[in-house]
Each structure stands twice: as C-alpha cells, then as structure tokens.
C-alpha cells in the first residue's frame, strides 16, 4: 500500500555518522555478552583459573562497557526526535 519511500537513501556525512553511532550503540551489549562468556572457557575447579584473576577480568570488562556506553551516548544524544521537536517549538 505504501508508495515509494520519500526519505532519501543516501545521507550527508553528519547524519550518516549518527546512524553508524546508533549501530555501535546496538552492538555494545552484543560485544559485552561475548566478552562475559569468555570465562566459561576457563578451566574449572581445583587447579583451575584463579578467582582473583576472574574478578579483575570481569570488572575490567564492566568498566570498558560503561566507558563505551558513555562515549556513544554523547554521539547519539543530538538526534533525539523529541528534543528536535522541542528545539523547534
């Protein structure tokens, strides 16, 4: 029923960059899930990996995720449609 889309297929550099930032925002939890699954490959039980190392690993991954999310949240901030509306009015 819908006719040909009126939105343009190719975007200016700025808008293109924002879209890619959104892709990145979507990808962060996937990267996080993969990184947090790595410990499952470690040897278990007596003689296995040390929990002290595991603690350090998990918290480092955690901090990296937080920093990534903070960085991306700045990049995607400016294209909130509600804000755009409010700025116009």
């Amino acid at each position: 029923m819908t006719g040909p889309s009126k939105t343009s297929v190719f975007l200016a550099r700025n808008a293109y960059h924002k879209r890619r930032m959104r892709d990145l925002a979507r990808a962060v939890p996937l990267f996080g899930a993969v990184l947090l699954s790595f410990p499952l490959l470690w040897p278990r039980g007596e003689g296995g990996a040390a929990n002290s190392g595991a603690v350090v690993y998990i918290f480092v991954v955690w901090i990296v995720l937080i920093l990534a999310a903070a960085g991306i949240s700045r990049a995607v901030k400016s294209d909130d449609p509600l804000r755009a509306q409010r700025d116009q009015s």
């Binding site: 959104r22 962060v28 939890p29 603690v55 949240s73 995607v76």
Partner: protein, 895 residues
C-alpha cells in the same frame, strides 16, 4: 557498642528524613519547580531499586557460597541498560505515548485493552513478588536481630515477628501516604522517586564504606585482598556455564519485567533523554555496588566463626571489628535497600491490582447503571489502591511467617525473578511483532506461569510443604515425566536452569503458535500497529467511532476519576482547541480517544476503555473503521500522487507555453522581416521608375535615350506587376482562398509545355527526359502543377552555373508515390540554405542575376500543399535537386 535503642532511634530518624524529603519533593513538584527533580541523575538513582536487600546483604552471602556467580545478577541488567537503544528506548516511548501505568497495563493495552490479560499479569506479578517482599522484611528483621544480639539480647521468633510486622506497617503507612496521594494523570510519584534516590545514595555509600574498610582497614590493600581471595574457599573459578548464561539472561529480562523496575523505568520516566545518561550511569552504579562484594565475602569467611550467616557479613564484619558506627551506616544502607524496593514494588502491584482487578469488578457490578453511575470512582480507586498496598504487604508478611524465613536469600530472589520474566515473550513479542495476539499472549503467560509454579515456585516454599517428597521423586500420580525437577524425563539439569529453560521455551513457543493461529480483534490490530510502529507515528490514531455520548456525561465520569479541577481543566482546554467556549467540547472521535488516554493514565487502558465504552454505548472500533483508517492513509497517498502528477502536468504545460511563445516571437520577427523585405522589393523598381520618369519630364534628350529610358520604366513596371502578382498569388494560396480547377491530362505534355515556357528563347539549358516514364494521366489542377514545373525549370536555367547546364527530369515511383525529380548539374544549394529556400524572399545567390523577388519556391510549396502533394529539396544529387511528389489522388492511370 551501639545500644539497640539508639539503633531504633537512628532508624526512626532516618525514616523521618525520608518523609521530609518526599514531602519536600511533592511540594516542589506541586508548585511547578520541578528542576532537579527531573534530572537524569534522579532517574538513574531511582533505577537502583533493582539493588534490594538481596543485593546489599544477599550478594555477599551468594559470593561466599558460590564465588563469582552473584555478579550475573548485575551483568544482565548492565547489558540491557547499555543496549538501551534496543528495548528500553522503545518501552519508554510506548509508555509515554500510551500513558502506560504498569506492566500489566502494557500487556493489556497492547493486546486490545484486554481485561483478562491484565488480570493474568497482575496475579503473576503478585505471586512472583510476594516472596521477594517477604525477603526484604526478613532482611530488615534479621539486621535488627544482629544488633539486638550484639547488644546482648537474643531475639526469639516473637521478637522477629514483632519487628517484621512493625516494619511492614511502617512501610505501608509511608507508601499509602506518598503513593496514593493523588490519582496522578501520569501516575508519577515525585516524592517517592526523590526518597528512593536518597536511599540509593545511602546504600551505595554504605556498601562502599564497608568495602573500603574491609580492603584497606582489614586486609591491608588491594594486593592483599587478591591474595586473600586466592587463599579463601572460593579461590578457584568453578562456574557452571548453563547457570552463568541463564542467570545473566534472567536478571537482564527481570530488569525489564519486574513490576517495580517497570514502574521506575517507564512509568516514572519524565524525559526520554534520561535514558541516554542512565545508559552508562546505571551500569556504573551496579559495578560500584558489586565491586566490594567478593572482598567482604572472603574477609568475612576468614575472620568470622564458621557458622556465621554469610548473608549478614556486611553487618557482622564491621561489628566484629568494633566499628559500630560503620555497622550502623551499613544497617541504614540495608534498610534503605529493603524499604525502597518494598515501597515501589507495592505501589506498582497496588496500581495493577486496583486497575486490573478491583475497578473492573466494581464497574461490572454497576454495569447496569450505565452513564448514570453514581458514586465517586476516584475515591473507590484510591481506596482500592490503599487496600492493595496493605494487602500486598500483608501477603509478604504472611509468606515470611509461613516460610519461616529460613531459606537462603539468593534462592528466593532467583525464583521470584524467573517468575517475573514469564511476561517477557508477550512483552518483547508485543512491541516488536505486529502478529502477536491476545490468544497467544494468554496461552504463553498461563503456560509459563504454570511451569514456573510447578518447577520452581512450589518446590521453593520448602520440601514437603506443598509438593511432597514422593512427587518430587516420582512425579504426580506416578507420571515420572512430570517430576518438577526433570520434566519430560530429562534429569540431571540444575533445578533453576531446568525451570527457567522449560518455562521460557514453552511460554515462548505457545505464545508464538497461539499468535500465528488466531485472528486478532480490530482493536488489537490497531494497538499492535501503534506499539510496534511507535517511532513512526507517536500521535496514535483514534479507537472510537463517532459516538452518541453526551459531553456532559463524559465530564461527569471524568470528574469522578481525575477529580473536578483536572477534568474541568481538560475539558475546557479541549473545547478551546475546538474553538468553543465553556466546558463542553463536541464529542468527536479525537476527543473521545484523547479522553480515554487521559483516563488510562489513572486507571489503566482496559478500565478506561471499558468506562468510556459504557458511555459511548460500546461503539468501539470495528473492522470497517480499520479499513477506513487504512483508506484514509491510502487517500492521502493518492492525493499526494495526484499532486505530483498535477505538478508534472503543469510543468509540461509551462514548457508548451514557453515553446509557443518562442514560436510567436519568431513569427513576429518573421513578419517584420517580411514587411521590410516587401517594402524594399517594391521600392527598388519604384525608385528607378521615378528617376527615369523625372528625366523624361525634364526633356532635352535624344529620342534614342528617351526610348531607352521609357523601356527601363516599362521593364520595372513589369517587374513590379510580376511581384505584385506573385504576392497576391501567395496570399491567395496561403489563405486557402484559391479555387482549384479540375482538369485532366498527360504528364508528358505538361512537362513539355513547361519546358517550352520556361526555357524561352534561351536554349542554353539542356533538358534530359525519359518520355516513357512520363506516361501518366493526371487529374488535378494542371495549370497550377505546370506553374510549379515552370518555376523549377526556370530556376535551373537561372541558377545553374555549369559550363553546359543540364537539367534531368526523372519520373519514378518511390514507396508508392509518383515523384518527379528536377536535378541540374550546377553547384547546388549549400546545406545551410537548404532549410530556407522555400521561405518567402529567400534568395540564395546574387540578387541581380535572379531578377525575381524570391517568392517562386514559396509559391511552389503552397501550390503543392494545396494540391495534396509535396515539394522538397533533395540533397546529395550533384547539383540542385528538387523532388515533387505528385498527389496520390491525381494519378488516374499509368500507361
């Protein structure tokens, strides 16, 4: 050593402080000074009710028992919040556009404002949350007991129960006071949000303080604490992979599905942009909350006696080190965690219970009353909420009493989580898939709820309490494939993973199959489109047909729900928007939809829909309306297509006009040129006639000269006459005034006559002919046709510049037409002139030599046109070549 009484006094003071904060925030919000109340920091802190007493006390106990597994409970939400762009953003937008009041409201609203689904989700939520509330009561009670014990008094069951009931009553009071203060249109509670933000700070600081004390005060630094981990009973990584992944999944899903989380995440959200900050700030909060859990656990395991409850290490470690001030702070942290969770949880559950169970029943009981229903709905709703709050807390207390408060905290928490996430398939399916239907959602929810109850919830109450040992071992009535921990005979899976896996798989499967094989009602389809495409059109379309409802009835009803001032304000605004004065707007479809949404903010979508439906006599949306909506969209599309076509047409017209204008301009230029040409042509002979006649008039000349001058005058007059004849001829031909004579004759004799006339006395021009080809009988105006031939032959004679000028006249058939080509052996006509030789006054070569006005070919063209034939220049024949196409009608016979 802190005396128990001081502890109680501090706790009461702290509660008073929270009351003060909540009261102050409400006042500020009421006066319109939102300001920092609406900051993303407050939003992020309010999300921290995810960290309950289970986190504060339980995480350490969990770590002491199972190492790093506790961290999964915080990693799941971290992934969900970091990926807010996927689900949270969509949920928040839907919650804001649809005025969602709770998770039950979201499910009910999405699936056609279904009351039944609201009831199912509400029951599920209450059942899942009750153990969790019991858990909070237990943790607060136990922490009191720890201090009592430290003060020398040993608490028996009576004291514990007394403390639990006191805490429950205190929490109920606070929640009723600030949670049901008003029936807010947006269901937002500024006071409570502010209070839990303060509590969030307190619990974080308390846990950090204990952690810092343990790491630097007891262990002696980070390096030492890592060594202590290596030396502890939880030194080695020993994580079951299935549990690790299941728990990350469950906690992430629970973060969205828990009623209290939904309340702060979606319902209390004031600005979508806050997600942007919370997207990283809340994971940071979770990370800080988890940072010192393992150190506290290993230090507690090392310094406390073997039998100590690891769930209370956060309190007992500072106490055993003599840090009673720190222990007190830690107690406040735990108290904050428990109370904030209970407050928000009871508000969320009470909203659900009152909107989805109490009010529908009340409305049903009064269904006969219709528009004339009496009684203050508003007070009924508020009252039902207050009772619901009390009821939920009473249930929690009851569970606490029944379960005896013995089980490990973490186990209850996970069972509760896995119950709450049974909403997940319907929720995610509902907001991403338009094909999800009410039947599918109900099937999935009921199945998931049943499997969860059978495999996780009932066994968790205690072995032998509800499900007997025999059933656990051999299944009900000997059906071993129904054993709660080994469904379908697949044994050996971790019980928790087993329950989560089967409940989610069956839930999602039946949700999907049920949706695929059922057909949604129109309202469901409408809502589905609005939820799934929430970013495309946030305004939402109407759910009502033009109805017979009276604006006054609607106002009466709205006043009962929203309160007099708000309802009148709303009606007045809408009336003004319609351009009417007063309080009663026209009951348009838009107005009814808007009113319903406004009411939904107070009583939930299903109830609002039912109430408005009572007044509008059930004239809800139908398939025809859906089609009308679709038609409207199609019409808009059609209209825009038409506009586009029109503009294209206009462009074409404009182009045609431009062309016409250019042609007109060119014609006008031509006309001017023609006039100046004609006056020039007339003037030249006139000038010589005048001057020679002047010479004659003056006399005094020889007879010979006189004769010569008179001859010139005569010649010029002849030329003038010829010119005028030609002009007249041309104008007659061009205007179509000529009368053609009907003559018949032979082409050969016609050409012969023309050659005779045109050749004249000057026989320098040799004419080559093929008499046999010329044997054609014609029936046309032969005089005119002859005129054309004469003209062409005369031209050849005049202009052919060869030494022995030759003209060949060839008659032949070209694609069915008889053509006559007149080709001479001169230099021909230059290409640039070929275009113009048929125009009036066009003379290509030297004028004096021509002796004509340049009208000959123009006349030829007009004649041929009149006769129905053609004349054209034939390039590439070695000399000047003209082709005359004889009119088809003129051919009588070819001999």
């Amino acid at each position: 050593m802190v005396s128990f009484n001081i502890l109680v006094a501090v706790a009461l003071l702290y509660v008073a402080l929270l009351f003060g904060v909540a009261f102050y925030a409400e006042r500020r919000a009421a006066r319109g000074f939102g300001g920092w109340l609406y900051s993303p920091i407050v939003y992020t802190l309010s999300l921290s009710i995810y960290c309950t007493a289970w986190t504060f006390y339980g995480a350490v106990g969990y770590a002491a028992r199972s190492g790093l597994e506790f961290v999964t409970i915080y990693l799941g939400p971290t992934l969900v919040v970091v990926g807010w762009w996927w689900v949270l953003r969509r949920l928040v937008r839907i919650g804001r556009t649809q005025r969602i009041t709770s998770i039950a409201d979201l499910i009910s609203s999405r699936f056609g404002k279904s009351t039944q689904l609201g009831v199912i989700v509400t029951i599920l939520a209450v059942v899942a949350a009750t153990p969790y509330i019991a858990l909070q009561l237990q943790s607060v009670t136990l922490s009191f007991a720890v201090f009592a014990e430290a003060g020398g008094a040993f608490w028996g069951e009576d004291e514990l129960n007394g403390a639990a009931i006191a805490v429950a009553i205190g929490l109920a009071t606070f929640t009723v006071l600030f949670g049901t203060r008003n029936l807010d249109a947006n269901e937002r509670h500024h006071g409570i949000v502010m209070a839990i933000a303060v509590e969030a700070v307190v619990k974080l600081l308390a846990l950090l303080a204990v952690g810092i004390f343990v790491v630097w005060g007891v262990a002696g630094g980070p390096t030492q604490i890592l060594q202590q981990i290596d030396a502890s009973p939880i030194a080695h990584w020993d994580q079951n992979g299935a549990r690790w992944i299941s728990l990350i999944f469950v906690s992430g899903a629970a973060f969205i599905c828990l009623p209290r989380m939904f309340q702060v995440l979606v319902v209390e959200n004031v600005d979508e942009r806050h997600l942007n900050i919370a997207g990283w700030a809340f994971p940071a909060y979770l990370m800080l909350m988890s940072l010192f859990v393992v150190p506290i656990a290993v230090v507690g395991l090392a310094i406390l006696p073997a039998g100590a409850n690891p769930d209370l290490f956060v309190l007992t470690v500072p106490l055993s080190e003599g840090q009673s001030g720190l222990a007190m702070f830690s107690f406040l942290g735990g108290f904050s965690s428990a109370t904030s969770m209970v407050i928000v949880s009871t508000i969320a559950l009470a909203t659900m219970v009152s909107n989805h169970i109490v009010v529908p029943i009340w409305l049903n009981a009064r269904a006969g009353a219709g528009a004339k229903m009496s009684g203050d709905v508003r007070s009924v709703i508020l009252l039902s909420r207050r009772f619901s709050i009390a009821g939920v807390l009473a249930l929690g207390y009851l569970y606490y009493r029944v379960s005896g408060g013995g089980t490990a905290l973490a186990a209850i928490g996970l069972v509760s989580f896995s119950g709450a996430i049974q909403v997940l398939p319907s929720l995610i399916g509902g907001i991403f898939w338009r094909g999800a239907t009410r039947v599918g959602a109900a099937l999935g929810l009921i199945t998931g709820f049943s499997v969860w109850s059978w495999t996780l919830f009932l066994p968790s109450i205690g072995t032998g309490a509800i499900i007997s040992d025999a059933v656990m071992l051999y299944g009900p009535f000997g059906h071993s494939w129904l054993r709660p921990e080994a469904l379908f005979g697949i044994a050996g899976i971790d019980p928790l993973v087993h329950g989560i896996m089967w409940s989610m798989i069956l839930n999602a499967f039946l949700f999907f199959i049920g949706s695929v094989f059922s057909f949604p009602t129109p309202l469901e389809r409408l809502q589905g489109a609005q939820f799934v495409n929430v970013f495309d059109y946030s305004a939402g379309s109407s759910n009502w047909r033009a109805s017979a409802a009276d604006a006054e009835d609607l106002l009466i009803m709205s006043q009962r729900i929203m309160g007099g001032t708000e309802a009148q304000g709303f009606f007045q605004r809408e009336a003004a928007a319609q351009g009417k004065a007063g309080y009663l707007p026209d009951v348009t479809i838009e107005f009814v939809s808007l009113l319903e949404r406004e009411l939904a903010g107070s009583v939930g979508a299903a109830t609002a829909h039912a109430m408005v439906g009572q007044l509008t006599e059930g004239s809800g949306v139908s398939v025809e309306d859906l089609i009308a909506v679709a038609d409207e969209a199609a019409q808009i599309l059609e209209y825009s297509n038409q506009l586009e076509a029109k503009s294209a047409e206009q462009e074409r017209t404009a182009r045609a006009l431009r062309d016409a204008n250019e042609k007109l301009t060119a014609l006008s230029v031509q006309k001017d040129a023609f006039l100046s040409q004609i006056s020039h042509e007339l003037r030249t002979p006139m000038t010589s006639i005048r001057s020679f006649s002047e010479i004659l008039r003056d006399g005094e000349m020889t007879a010979d000269a006189q004769w010569r001058y008179a001859g010139i005058i005569h010649d010029e007059t002849l030329r003038l006459t010829r010119l005028l004849d030609d002009l007249l001829d041309l104008s007659v031909l061009a205007n179509g005034q000529v009368t053609l004579q009907d003559q018949s004759g032979d082409l050969r004799s016609l050409i012969t006559r023309a050659v005779d006339v045109a050749g004249g006395e000057d026989s320098k021009l040799r004419v080559l002919r093929d008499p046999s080809a010329e044997a054609i009988v014609l029936r046309t105006d032969l005089d005119r046709l002859g005129q054309v031939f004469i003209n062409l032959i005369a031209n050849a004679r005049k202009y052919c510049d060869a030494v022995t000028p030759t003209l060949s006249i060839k008659v032949r058939r070209v694609s069915g037409d008889y053509v006559i080509d007149f080709v001479d052996n001169g230099s021909g006509v230059q290409i640039k002139n070929q275009q113009v030789i048929f125009e009036k006054f066009s003379r290509v070569s030297d004028q004096s030599k021509a002796g004509g006005a340049g009208l000959g070919l123009a006349i030829c063209r007009e004649i041929m046109h009149r006769l129905g034939g053609e004349i054209s220049y034939l390039p590439g024949q070695g000399g000047a070549a003209f082709r005359v196409v004889l009119p088809r009608a003129a051919i009588l016979a070819n001999r």
